[in-house]
């Protein structure tokens, strides 16, 4: 085999049996970025709906204001629980850290690990588990929040705030759930045959999705929870 032919053969192998693309980039990664771009517009529509309806609820409970009789039959305090949501925000931010460490571990799987620290940082299973658990913890916080809101009299049908809030955060929660399931499938593959540098693109696109879910929450946390 000539050197050129060997190079072409090697390039063919590196792209998992597919010929090189016209852009020279992995099509899956371009597709995920395009998907994330479309998701930006989906969440923009949900966030705008929330902001348009903000302050236009006729009955309580309200997000930041107390509701007293006669507007509300019983006195209702401001419903948003900032300390709990701050904790869940921190959890999601840390899950993004765990995700990048998982990707780095997969990319550097072939490199020798001499110290315990390098072995910990190089364990893709550990960081994938950590990301999935932190994602599940975030969902637990959201379940707690939704349940407490319903107990305090706020459902999706109560007022404009309830409708737009549950729709926006519910859509986000559904995305986190999909992300956790995606991470669990990566973990299953890692346990079955091990994830290595050849799988870096597959882990990378899962990581892109996960970080996107994180940046959407960064926007929601500020626009919904902190701005009164």
């Amino acid at each position: 085999m000539t050197h050129a032919a060997a190079a072409a053969h090697s390039a063919h192998d590196d792209t998992h049996g597919h010929p090189p693309t016209s852009t020279g980039l992995d099509n899956k990664k371009i597709a995920v970025w395009a998907f994330i771009g479309s998701e930006c517009m989906l969440f923009a529509s949900l966030i705008s709906t929330y902001l348009i309806y903000k302050g236009r609820s006729v009955v309580g409970p309200y997000p930041h204001e107390t509701c007293l009789p006669p507007t509300c039959s019983t006195p209702l305090k401001a419903i948003l629980n900032i300390p709990v949501t701050s904790a869940s925000t921190f959890v999601l931010l840390m899950s993004s850290l765990a995700m990048v460490l998982a990707l780095a571990a997969v990319e550097n799987k072939d490199q020798p690990k001499r110290t315990t620290g390098e072995r910990i940082l190089g364990s893709s299973k550990l960081w994938l588990w950590m990301t999935a658990l932190l994602g599940a913890t975030f969902l637990g916080f959201q379940a707690f929040e939704f349940t407490s809101f319903v107990h305090e009299g706020l459902t999706i049908r109560t007022n404009l705030f309830g409708s737009s809030f549950f729709t926006l955060t519910g859509f986000h929660g559904a995305h986190v759930t999909a992300g956790v399931l995606w991470l669990l499938t990566l973990l299953a593959i890692d346990y079955r045959r091990g994830l290595g540098p050849k799988d870096a693109v597959n882990v990378d696109i899962a990581a892109l999705y996960w970080h996107f879910v994180d940046v959407v929450w960064i926007a929601i946390f500020t626009l919904v929870y902190l701005i009164k």
Binding site: G37, S48, I52, L93, M94, L101, L121, F221, I227
Partner: protein, 122 residues
């Protein structure tokens, strides 16, 4: 054995880009530093929320929006590697993002939450 430097160079480009990953990704320590910065910004955001005088001031909403934008940019640039990856990915993401943000602002103007010269009202 035939040796074609041009082909080899081409192969190097294909090999490098076929993964869609540049080799200049940040190190583990950079990731940890970014996490600390994100945490500190979140702490500042929550801290200013509990300062009534600041909440009542005109600087509250712009400050929170700026801090949120910084966090957004840090995650996208460092964790999503947009700073290091191919410029096509940047275009595919920032194009729809600009459309999305323009839509939000346009709708807020349309429904009277923003007015030119009046700032946020709602």
């Amino acid at each position: 054995m035939a040796h074609d430097p041009k082909h080899e160079e081409h192969h190097a480009n294909v090999d490098h880009a076929a993964m869609g990953i540049e080799h200049e990704h940040p190190t583990w320590s950079t990731y940890w530093k970014v996490a600390v910065i994100l945490t500190l910004i979140t702490v500042v955001e929550v801290w200013v929320y509990y300062i009534p005088s600041f909440v009542a001031s005109r600087g509250f909403v712009p400050t929170l929006l700026a801090l949120s934008a910084v966090k957004f940019a840090i995650v996208v640039l460092f964790y999503m590697h947009l700073r290091y990856d191919h410029k096509l990915f940047r275009a595919v993401f920032t194009g729809p993002l600009i459309i999305a943000m323009t839509t939000i602002v346009a709708l807020l103007f349309l429904f009277g939450h923003l007015r030119i010269g009046a700032g946020a009202t709602g």
